[in-house]
Every structure is written in C-alpha cells, then in structure tokens.
C-alpha cells in the first residue's frame, strides 16, 4: 500500500507508467521498479521456489536473491525488484502450474518431502533402464525456471574499452571516499549508479587489471592500474523453520520499500537482528505506520527457539522462545558478510574470523585494494546460531535450491563431509544467488554438525561472474573477420557462388563447374588465386635459408626459374606447399597455400633468427592480386596483352619473369597446377581488377574453386590439409623425389626414420571401376575392416572416370592393385593408379 509522499522518496508521482501483469494493468511511478509497483498494488507472492514450489515474496530488494524472478517481455528470470517500471511491459509469473497463488506443483512441498530428500534422484529410477527417458522428461520439465522466448529480442549490445588509473568498484561511502582520495584518472562504478558513479556491475577482476562492467547494453572493458573494491557487505538471512515464508525480509527489503518507494510493507512486524540494520528497519517500519510488535536483538538477547509460521505460504506469526507474535512482516538480519567474491577471484585468500563470525579477504594481489565492509570493516554484529529450532516447518539453508537443514545433515550422514562435496550433493550455493545468501550458512552448519570450526570447513572457490550477465552483452556486436580478395566484387558481380576457405570468401563456381572445367581444357580459363600466401625472401643468406628449410634444393635454382617445394615440420610432417621462384641472386618469391601464409612466414622468421641469417622475410600476400590464366589459348591471349616475348622459348615451363600485361606490371610464373598451359600473374592488388577485366575481355572464362579441384585431381596434385593430415610425411604421401641428399634440413631425421622403418600407409590415386562417386572420407575396406580412406574424389569428364586419391596400406599401393571402397554400406571395386590421370607426361604444361 502506497503511503503519503515522504521526504527522500525515490519516486516521481507525476510520472506514472502502466504495465501488464497476468492480464491486469498495474501502474507505478518513475523511480519504481516493477517489483515495487506490484507490491504497492498488493501483490505479495512473486515466485514459486525451485523444488517445492513454495510461494516466495520480496526478500532483499537488491537483486541478490531468486525470490522476485518473473518473465518480462518474454525474457525469463528478470529480477523485478531492480527492473525499472516501463510502459507496456508484459510481466508473467514463471515456473508455476496454474498461478502464483495456486500452483499445482506445490504438491511437492506437502507430500514430496519424504519422497524427495536431497539426492533422491541418484537412488531411484535406475531400473528398468528403458524407463529412465520418461522419468527424465518429467524431471526436466519440472526443473528450470522461466521459459526461453521463441525469438531473441535483438537488442543492440556494444563493447567499449576504457583505461583508467584507478577503478573503484562500489559507490557506497567507502567507495566514494576512496574515489575522492585517489589520484590520476579515477572512475567509480556502482550497480545502482548515483553519486557520479557509472551505473554498472563489475563482473570480475581478471589478469592484466581487466575489469568488465555490465552496464545493461554496453559492456565496458576497463583496464585499471589499480582497482579498489568497495563492494560492501551482504545482508545475511537467519536459518530457522519457515525462514522463506512470504513476509520474511532482509533489512534492505524494508528499507527500500519504505524509504525509496513509500510503501507500507505490512500491518504488524517482528524484527530479529544481529546488528543495527534490523533496528533501523524497525524505525523505517514505524515511520510508515507498521506496528513493530517485537524486536529481538541477538546481541543482548539469547534465544534458542525461532520459527515463522504461516498460512498458504504467507507469514502469520513468529515464535520466539515459546512466545507467538502475530505479524505479517518479519525482518531477519544475520549481520553482514563482506562481499569478497571479486577479491577472491582476483587471487585474494579469505580467512575466517571467529570473533565476528565472518570470512574476510587477506593477501590481496598487488594492484588490488579493498576498503569498507568488503575489506571486513564490519563491527557490532552478533554471531547468529547456525540454525534455530522451533516447529517442524522447513528450515532453509539455501533458498535458491530449496536446500534445508535436514538435507545438509543427511548429506553429512551419507559421507559428503567436506564443503565442496556437500555443496555438490545438496546443490546448496549453486543457484541464482551464487552463494550470497547461503554460503556462510552452509559453512556454519557443516562446522556445527562436524564439530569443527568454520575455518576448517573453508570456503568454496569464488567463480565469476559476480552477478548473472546476459549472453548478448558478453557477445557484443556481431561481426566476424572476412577476408576479401582484391577481385572479390568482380566475383559477386558475376554471380559466383561464394564459399569460405579459412577466413577467405572464394568463388565455388560461377555457373556449371563442368563447363568451367571444359573451358580450361579446351580454350581458356582464369581463376583468382590472390589468396595464395606470398612471401619475399631477400638477402645474402636467402638461398641458404631456403636450402635448409626445404627438403629439396634451392641454392642451385637459377635466376628466373621456379621449383615446387614442400615444407615439413621438425617432426617430418607435411606442413605446407607452394612454389619458389628465384628473381635474383638474393631474391626469392615464395607462394604458400591460402591458409598457410602467416604460419609459413612465422616459420621462416623463426628459423632465420635461430640460424642467424641475413634475410628479410616480407609477407606480401595482401599487397598482390594473383590470377591463373590457363588453357590451350593462354599464350595467345597473354601475347595479345603484352609487349613481352611470351613464346615457349622466352617463357618456358617453370620460368618466372616480370612482364607488363594490359598496362599492369606483373610477375608471370609459368606453372601448371590445373594441368594445362598456364601463367600465374601477380600484380599490385589495386590493379587486380584492371588486369582481370582485360583477361576476361580477351575471352578467359572465370572458373571457381570447384572446377579447379577437378582439374588438379586429374593431375593427381595433392592439396595439403585435404589429402594430407597432421601425421603425413613425404614418403607416405608419395613424394620421395622431393627429398634431396644434403647435410641438413628441417625434419631430416624424421624422414630418415621413416626410410628406415618403412611407411605405414601410402597416398595413391585410384579410379573407380564403376561410375559411383565415393564421398570424400569414404573408407577403403578389406574384410569389412577399414584399412584406408578416400581424401579426394570427383567425376572427371576428361578422364571419363571417377577418380580420386586415397590412403591405403603400403602393401596395397602398387599400380593396378584392386581396392574395395565402401559407399553407402556396399563395397565397390577401384584400381590404384600411380601416374596422373591426365597428361601423365606433362606435355600440355610444356607445350
């Protein structure tokens, strides 16, 4: 019930807001939360508990507990006591069958108790096994709180980086004073804002002074030189029968209802308190006209019995040492516990102080400081009992998970005798409050029951985040790095189907891949190969560096010539491949696979440093566009666009030469990955489109990756990473000719080892006897057992067969060996073919 305007109230009665709750229109004022407006409108039950479906009402009014969670605008588990009112919000109860006031599932509270002791599910529903899915379905349906909406809300979340000298977390008195004292660039954050503080919740303190702050729709990632934690203390509940009844509140609940929102919480109240907070709440209650019938100050009064009794889950009376006092509000205050989680997570230790009955942080990390209550600056509270007796109502240690005193005792009796085991077995402290209102209580109870002390029991590990945080906020804006070739937009304009290869987008094909294959074989095609890694190696030691990196020779490579190279790891595994062109005595131009450029560059730099060579390694991948012009008409087309002599004598197979094509200076590499006469042209990325357009205008048919894969397979060219894996070596991959006799190269010992003990598998080409295409990944089988696998397979019109590459046992790797390949459950014959399927002698390439 709302009372007359109060001095200091936080609501603006001139600004009403109306929202919908279970079909009814509810009005609140600016400054209200949905929770306070509902309370003012007479609602007392806000939720049903996790396991027993007991009615629960406002408890802390600080967003710490699970009691006021409802679904707002389709978003589950919104804490109403801190959710500002807004027009048009649609608020619904959750986790109830029926309504909040009549929840059919509350049957578990009445009869469920004896059937559902802690951990009951471990001991039941074991046999017969086939019924478990049914039981499980039921369990799943009753568990969980709110429901996920059908669609996301598509809120905009942003992330912002900030650097400060000092970050003060917590805007209470201690925090504000610390901020005022601090020097340099100082920032204060507080969950509730106000007093010049940034409104937001620090989620954790991570390495490097990183403090992420949840500010609703912006995530601030603070980097602070120094962090001051002033998160205060958390009001602690008392443990007694009926301590979860609707009407039982913490002092802050009363404080906010009365002072901030000018609401009279009830008619008649009892206060049981271990500190001044309860007494202040008594004052607040009186100020709004609630009668305070009885105040128990645990510092001066020793009680043994304390119990709350209620009707239909709502408080009706409190029993104190045999005396029953009728009331509808009970303020309980078990003193405050330093909110040390951020500190513990930052690396601080926490230590139990028996005199004050609290855990305090010690041994703070160097850049972190604690002040005020968070640091343990809390005096004047009595240490309450681990629990109070009285009546047979349920006595909750953990309200989030509905864990009672009896559950804890039972867990102990069963042997779960450490805090970590007891926590896991009872699930106490594992609910939405994250231990704020139950951690200390669990420890106290274990200490009492095991007849040790709290220090011996110890705390559980502090686990971030400090406060639940939305996935959307953590995720931030959605963007994903995408690499585009300089010719990207030409492909899009031509209507190519694009696909991912690593972070690159590349054309799969422009139309019919088979037609594109045909164009290359019969006339002229052009493919964008700008994604190839490109590295310049220059310097007096460049030749020597490459000589030692590669298993084959490069020191003897003539200027203007190209050689294929395969890089192996120091374990002799195939790592990457590409071509190496010598452009000058000290100058090499190396290409790598599309995904390999960075790792190969690092690899070169690393060995260059290890061996102390004088060679510059420059990754020029992005600087250059590259295309492969291939087909029988390639020379003619190129000749028409350049003044240079591109005849077969002047630009032989495996020659490299700088020429100008269509006004664009290019490095022309005459190589033949796709099996026909071809030229790779590399030029400045910014001139790529110009070159491409000129080639297309000359009749070159753009072809995509898919046709290229068919073409290269016809030549049995290996794709590193597809046909090889992390274990493949040069000998097993059928490339012994790469390995040259020389004093040393990276991975040499491994090659020698493999030579000595023989290979265990071998990569071979194969043709299918029939026309069926085995999927890549199909297994080579012998007697129903897998003995190999297909890594590449395509239908080749040119060869007139289904062709592919496969790993087989070395004993089955000879030319002409018959293989069985399993396709869709049946075995199909194939034949090993060691020579390339197309133009085995390479005449076309040299033509």
């Amino acid at each position: 019930m709302r009372i007359a305007p109060q001095p200091g109230e936080r609501i603006d009665r001139r600004k009403p807001f109306t929202f919908e709750y279970d079909g009814a229109k509810i009005t609140g004022f600016e400054g209200d939360t949905i929770g306070s407006a509902l309370y003012a409108a007479g609602r007392r039950v806000f939720s049903r508990s996790f396991k027993y479906h007991r009615p629960r009402g406002l408890l802390c009014c600080s967003g710490d507990c699970p009691n006021c969670m409802m679904t707002v605008d389709g978003v589950p588990n919104v804490r109403l006591c801190v959710e500002p009112v807004r027009d048009g919000a649609v608020v619904r109860a959750q986790n109830v069958l029926g309504s909040l006031d009549r929840d059919l599932l509350s049957i578990t509270d009445k009869i469920g108790g004896p059937f559902t002791p802690v951990g009951f599910y471990y001991r039941t529903m074991i046999r017969p096994r086939r019924l478990w899915p049914l039981y499980e379905k039921f369990l799943r349906n009753v568990a969980g709180l709110g429901k996920i909406g059908e669609n996301g809300t598509h809120r905009r979340y942003d992330t912002e980086h900030r650097r400060v000298d000092v970050l003060v977390i917590g805007g209470g008195r201690a925090g504000r004073e610390a901020a005022a004292r601090a020097e340099g660039d100082v920032l204060l954050v507080d969950e509730h804002g106000g007093g010049g503080a940034l409104k937001g919740r620090a989620l954790g303190i991570y390495e490097g002074g990183l403090v992420p702050v949840d500010a609703g729709d912006v995530l601030y990632r603070f980097r602070a030189e120094r962090i001051v934690v002033a998160t205060g203390g958390i009001e602690q509940p008392l443990v007694f029968p009926g301590n979860d009844l609707v009407g039982v509140m913490l002092p802050n609940g009363v404080r906010r209802l009365t002072r901030d929102w000018s609401i009279k919480p009830g008619e008649r109240a009892v206060v049981v308190t271990a500190d001044d907070a309860g007494l202040e709440a008594a004052g607040d209650l009186r100020a709004v006209g609630t009668e305070v019938a009885r105040v128990v100050d645990l510092r001066s009064e020793r009680i043994v019995q304390l119990a709350a009794v209620g009707k239909r889950g709502r408080l009706s009376a409190v029993l104190v040492d045999g005396e029953a006092v009728d009331c509808d509000v009970l303020v309980m205050s078990g003193g405050r516990q330093p909110a040390y989680s951020l500190l513990a997570q930052a690396g601080a230790r926490v230590e139990y102080e028996p005199r004050r009955g609290i855990f305090v942080p010690t041994e703070l990390p160097e850049n972190v400081e604690a002040v005020g209550s968070a640091a343990g600056d809390l005096e004047g509270a009595a240490v309450p009992a681990a629990s109070y007796d009285g009546g047979d109502g349920k006595c909750f240690v953990c309200i989030c998970e509905d864990v009672t005193e009896k559950d804890v005792k039972r867990a102990l009796a069963e042997g779960f005798d450490s805090i970590e085991l007891a926590k896991r077995y009872t699930t106490a402290t594992m609910g939405p409050c994250q231990g704020r209102l139950c951690h200390l209580q669990s420890i106290r109870m274990l200490a009492r029951e095991t007849e040790t002390d709290e220090a011996a029991i110890g705390t559980t590990t502090a686990r971030p985040p400090w406060g639940p945080v939305e996935l959307g906020l953590l995720a931030g804006r959605h963007y994903e790095a995408m690499k585009r070739s300089p010719l990207h937009f030409r492909h899009e304009e031509a209507g190519a189907t694009m696909m991912w290869t690593g972070a690159w987008r590349r054309p799969f094909a422009y139309g019919d891949p088979a037609a594109e294959v045909r164009a290359v074989h019969e006339s002229l095609g052009v493919i964008d190969v700008s994604t190839l890694g490109k590295i310049i190696v220059e310097g007096p030691d460049a030749a020597e560096l490459l000589e030692r990196l590669y298993p084959n020779r490069f020191a003897d490579l003539a200027v203007g010539r190209i050689r294929y190279g395969v890089l192996t790891t120091d374990g002799g595994r195939i790592m990457d491949d590409g071509t190496v062109a010598r452009l000058g005595d000290d100058l090499f131009y190396v290409t790598t696979t599309s995904t390999g450029s960075e790792s190969v560059c690092e690899w070169f730099e690393w060995w260059n440093a290890v061996w102390g060579y004088d060679a510059e390694i420059v990754n020029v991948t992005g600087a250059l566009a590259a295309v492969n012009l291939a087909g029988p008409q390639a020379r003619e087309a190129l000749g028409a666009l350049t003044d240079a002599d591109v005849s077969n004598d002047a630009l032989k197979y495996l020659d490299a030469k700088e020429i100008t094509v269509a006004g664009v200076p290019c490095l022309a590499l005459r190589i033949g990955f796709v099996g026909e006469l071809g030229y790779e042209l590399h030029c400045a990325a910014s001139a790529g489109e110009h070159l491409w357009d000129a080639l297309v205008a000359r009749g070159a048919v753009p072809f995509g990756l898919e046709p290229q894969r068919v073409l290269r397979l016809e030549k049995a060219h290996v794709i590193v990473g597809q046909d090889t894996d992390s274990e493949s070596n040069l000998l097993s991959a059928g490339m012994p000719w790469i390995v040259k006799e020389k004093p040393d190269f990276v991975g040499k010992w491994a090659v020698e080892l493999v030579e000595e003990r023989g290979i265990r598998e071998r990569l071979v080409g194969f043709t299918m006897d029939g026309g069926l295409l085995p999927p890549e990944g199909a297994q080579v089988v012998e007697n129903g057992k897998s003995t190999g696998r297909v890594t590449s397979s395509r239908v080749s019109e040119q060869v007139g067969k289904v062709i592919g590459l496969a790993w087989v046992r070395p004993e089955r790797a000879d030319d002409g060996t018959r293989l069985s390949i399993r396709i869709a459950g049946a075995d199909h014959p194939a034949t090993v073919t060691l020579a390339p399927f197309y133009d085995a002698e390479g005449a076309k390439l040299r033509s």
């Binding site: 978003v75 589950p76 588990n77 004896p114 002791p117 009951f120 471990y122 039941t124 529903m125 074991i126 046999r127 899915p133 799943r140 709180l145 709110g146 429901k147 996920i148 669609n151 996301g152 598509h154 991570y206 390495e207 039972r410 779960f416 450490s418 970590e420 085991l421 896991r424 077995y425 699930t427 594992m430 994250q434 590990t461 686990r463 985040p465 639940p468 939305e470 996935l471 953590l474 995720a475 931030g476 959605h478 994903e480 696909m499 991912w500 290869t501 990473g721 597809q722 992390s726 274990e727 080892l753 003990r757 990944g777 297994q779 129903g784 057992k785 696998r789 890594t791 399993r822 459950g825």
Partner: protein, 404 residues
C-alpha cells in the same frame, strides 16, 4: 513425516593409511576410482588404496561437461570409446546409483565443405565398427533440433552434421560418487586429502609412494591424475609428451527445457547442452598456452557467448551464472596414453585432453586387467606410451580437437 529413503553411508570415513597395499592408485577422479572399483569387482584385488590430494572428484572429473560419445575418427579410438559407452549404459545398474545418463543424441556441426568431409569420414569409420553415426543435412538437423539457427543470416551457415544418437550427457559427480561407493563397498580404501609427493623406485620398479601422510609401499602403482600427469609421472622419472592447458566452461541460469540434443561446433569453438536442471552448459576449446593454474579468462566468456548466439540467437537474454576451469593433459595426437611405462609396475592413464571423462569405465576395466594379469588388453595396445618412440601415433586431431 519420515523419509522413506534410509540414510545410508556412501563410503566409510577416511581411516589410517596402511604401510602397504597390493595396489596404490594415485588420483581420486573417475579414472582412479574406476580402476580401483574394477580391480576389486572383476579381479578380486581388494587390497587397494586410492590416494587423492583433495576431495574425490576435485579434478577434471568434477568439472567437465560430461559429453559421452564414441564417434571418433580413428578405428582404434572409435572402438575404444564405443566400448566405454556400452559400459556407461550399464553402469547405473551395476553401481545401483542413478548416473543420469541421458542419451539425447549428439550433433557435430559442419560449417564448411572440409568439415563435411571430416564428418563423412567419421561416419564411415564408425559405421564399419557398428557405431550409430551418420551424416545429416540441414532438413534433418531442423527436425532433431528445431531451435537451431539454420538461417542464411548466419556467418558460417550450417552445411550438415555428424549425428550420433547414443551420444549424451551424464551427471559427473554421480559417476565419481557411484564408483567411489562401489569401490568402498568392495573393500577398496579411499583416502582423500592424501597427496603423493614422491614415488620410490628400486631397480627400475615402482615400490612405494611418499605422501603427506607418510610412506606407503605397493606392488603396483597406477597414476590416474589427468591434468597433473606430467608432475606425478615426473616423480617416477617417467617423461610424458604432454602439455597441460586449461579448459573453461560455464552454466547459465536454469530455464525450462529448450534443447535436448548436444550441439558441438568446431568452427564456432563451442558446444552447448542443457542439463536436467535446466542450465545451459557451454564449453569451448582449450586455451592455447600451457599452465597448471586454473584461472579463468574473460575473452573465453565473450567468444563463447558470441558463438552460442550465432547458433541460438534466442538465448540473447539468458544469463551466465558461473564459470570454471579445469586442467587438461594434452597429448600430441589427441589420443590417450594408457598402460605400462618404462618403470616396471608403474602404469599410467594420461593424455586425456578434453575428452577423458567418457573413457572412465573402459580405462577402469582395462587398467584393472593390466594390473591384475600383467597383460595389456588389445583395446588399449595402440595407446601405449611407447608409440611416441616408434612414431605410431593415433591421430584424433579431427575428432577431438574441439569436441569433447
């Protein structure tokens, strides 16, 4: 009202350490406890002590995301894990303890052509071994998991998946406790808060361990300490080709059932399941640097959230409740290291990376057999430590790297 369930102790309170046991198992995780349990149950070897430096299940066994499956890439791996899944299916009944093994199915998403090939390969290998595993395409994914975002607005559209119907999740603590109870009842002694600090060898043979509670002799010593393997094996002078990394995971607030199957995406570095409690359980791949310190990182939360939302945009407002980290002992080929070492009678279970929980029963049965009979079971022969000397690796890279 009285409880209808009798209070019965799970295990005896910790007793005094004896001077000598037939077998000492180091590590009170799922592997150590399973080894002890099967030693007693299958071989009648009962003079066994499990030494655990903290509480039982305090290591990766109590921190993992409990995915159990057998759709591995290599025939050796698939056969091994497949046997383990079968054992898990019976384990609740064997232990008379409900481990809550829910075989709701497991989908490994492929977002690229290359990934589809890997899925195909795994499906083929699996099918040859009789494992229920096949490639499915978006229409069927939509049926198996109607909630998933298959829309074109995805950065990495889902092209297909490997569907493994027997894949599921289990309650990890229940596995630890059930095995501990079973072992305890069979006579095994479990010693929590007992840390092994030294391993004695006499002429190339392990003979005793040193602990914070004194020295204990043993005929056979088994190291089942996963993330601590390099340290503990180091005590015996055994060097392992293992690097130790952290792996992180988190849960959200509980919500009503939304997701039945387990979704794994290597491309997104993320996997998502919903527990019986209603929490979403989300994990990622290991952190690339090596460490023994379990400290979580914030970027992990950020990218996991981002990738989860790419798959399930509806979860935007779902809140993360708790994150944690565990240690992972990663071997070069992503396969375990199991069985004998060069120190006689010192056996090891290590190299479990991010995938060892599913192996607990098979590790337990095979190691127990090795200890009791001195013979290495065929199923684990490919995983011998020796393979790194003979260069006979069992590469699971494509199956295990990000999936669990």
């Amino acid at each position: 009202m009285k409880d209808i369930f009798r209070v019965s102790r799970m295990w005896r309170p910790r007793g005094e350490l004896k001077k000598r046991y037939d077998v000492v198992v180091i590590g009170g995780g799922s592997h150590g406890l399973a080894t002890a349990y099967y030693l007693a149950k299958n071989h009648g070897v009962k003079d066994v002590a499990v030494l655990e430096k903290s509480y039982i299940g305090s290591g990766a066994s109590g921190r993992n995301t409990t995915i159990i499956r057998s759709n591995y890439r290599t025939p050796e791996g698939a056969a091994f894990y497949s046997r383990s899944v079968k054992l898990y299916e019976q384990l609740s009944a064997d232990l008379d303890f409900n481990l809550m093994f829910s075989q709701h199915g497991h989908l490994t998403l492929a977002h690229s052509e290359r990934a589809m090939v890997t899925m195909q390969e795994r499906a083929e290998v699996n099918q040859l071994l009789g494992i229920d595993s096949r490639v499915v395409y978006p229409e069927e994914i939509a049926r198996l998991c109607p909630q998933i975002n298959l829309g074109p607005r995805q950065t990495w559209p889902i092209q297909g998946a490997l569907y493994h119907a027997p894949g599921g999740i289990i309650r990890h603590d229940a596995v630890v406790w059930g095995l501990a109870r079973g072992a305890d009842r069979a006579g095994v002694e479990i010693h929590p808060y007992t840390e092994v600090t030294g391993i004695e060898r006499t002429s190339g043979r392990a003979t005793a361990v040193e602990t914070n509670r004194g020295r204990v002799e043993a005929d056979v010593v088994v190291s089942a300490v996963a993330g601590w393997s390099t340290l503990v094996c180091g005590l015996a002078g055994v060097r392992l080709p293992i690097t130790t990394h952290i792996l992180q995971a988190f849960v959200t607030e509980p919500v009503k059932p939304f997701l039945d199957v387990i979704i794994v995406s290597a491309q997104m570095h993320v996997y998502v399941s919903q527990t019986d409690r209603g929490e979403f359980l989300i994990g990622a791949e290991i952190e690339p640097y090596t460490t023994y310190k379990s400290i979580g990182t914030f970027p992990f939360l950020e990218y996991s959230a981002r990738h989860t939302l790419e798959l399930f945009p509806q979860l935007e407002r779902l809140r993360v409740l708790r994150t944690w980290t565990g240690l992972c002992d990663l071997s070069p080929d992503y396969s375990p290291i199991l069985g004998r070492t060069e120190v006689e009678n010192f056996h090891v279970s290590a190299g479990w990376g991010t995938y060892g929980f599913k192996a607990a029963p098979i590790v337990g049965t095979t190691l127990a057999k090795l200890v009791a009979t001195g013979e290495t079971p065929d199923l684990i022969a490919p995983f011998a430590l020796e393979r790194f000397h003979t260069d006979e690796l069992v590469s699971e890279l494509a199956a295990a790297a990000v999936s669990h």
